[in-house]
Symmetry: C2
Subunit: 206 residues, 2 copies
């Protein structure tokens, strides 16, 4: 009989290749910290990246080119092991944000430091996937890839915590220098285009 | 210097409690197989489930109740270790589907058997989350929880492989007995409600 609460082993199935090689959010002194200079300077480098799949998993990619968007699961390898103990953070390391539990945030520092990002698949060439919008730095180990399926992955009538709307706005301000237009910065997303209910709508519903 | 290609250890942070305790998709003889009887009989049991978070991670939940939808990452613990070698499957174990690489499918059998499901958060009571739409059976170990954020997780203008549209339709037929109406069966999703482009639209665009 297996013990469901035992540890499990995961193995990298590929690696990220990107011009971006510095962490935007860094673990430091039992907290996370946003490096605004890195966020600003590296934004455009994150726009396009490559994922190189290990040779032994090449067959697993068969048919992936028929999907426009894929979910990349990666291990945030720069997070030190003791950081996995952290239970709460100021989201995005911004002190002006209320302190919240890790599971209510998308912090890269978490008990199991696996991040998921949904990216646009531009092209597949053999073992290499060229993608848009992957917020993982150079040499990040990739642990899984799945097709994005809206009927499973894009629920309707979504409501977010108020602070998350403020955070989205804040990150947009912090990471959008004048020389970048909105479409070339992966952190700048027009939230009005997405199927979720804004705080204003929530209030008018109550 | 750390080797990025080394294995990583993940630890369960909680466990699923559900009336559903049988696998719908099962690994057997180097392939996956859909158990139609289980799919039919268990569908309604998967509608609502509980996630019990381990005491030590209770603080990580702070603020999660302000989100309507959360992403559950779980380990498909019934998949035997040697099944992680499989590179291709008939999606959903249906021989009528073209054989595809694991990364182009949502198969529970994969090199790192971590599944992600976006669920509706109905209620949080202490360490217990009552959720809707979790396709994980009783005692499944949960490894991470994240808030669902449409601007990251719900891209627009999504295109799927043709076979995936057929599979969605097929699964709906296979898992919708007469006594279940559409809204009570978690496998039945009206794909027209979701922001993706159908094969017909794709053809008319070409």
């Amino acid at each position: 009989m297996t013990n469901n609460m035992s540890d499990y082993r995961i193995r990298p199935i590929g690696i990220v290749k990107s011009k971006a090689d510095k962490e935007v959010l860094k673990y430091s002194n039992k907290d996370i910290k946003l490096d605004r200079d890195v966020a600003l300077s590296q934004g455009i480098d994150l726009k396009k990246s490559e994922i190189i799949i290990n040779e032994e998993y090449l067959d697993c990619l068969d048919g992936i080119e028929d999907f426009s968007h894929i979910v990349i699961m990666f291990w945030t390898h720069k997070v030190p092991d003791n950081a996995r103990q952290i239970k709460k953070v100021h989201p995005a390391g911004l002190k002006e944000m209320p302190i919240k539990g890790i599971f209510a945030t998308r912090s890269p520092v978490r008990p199991n430091p696996i991040c998921k990002t949904t990216v646009k698949l531009i092209e597949r060439k053999g073992a290499t996937l060229l993608v848009e919008g992957l917020d993982a730095i150079d040499n990040t180990p990739v642990v899984d890839i799945k097709p994005h399926i809206p009927f499973y992955d894009s629920p309707l009538n979504v409501k977010l915590a108020d602070w998350m709307y403020r955070l989205m706005q804040k990150l947009k301000e912090l990471t959008s220098p004048l020389e970048l237009n909105e479409s070339s910065n992966p952190y700048s997303v027009d939230i009005r285009l997405h199927p979720c209910i804004s705080p204003d709508q929530q209030r008018s519903e109550q």
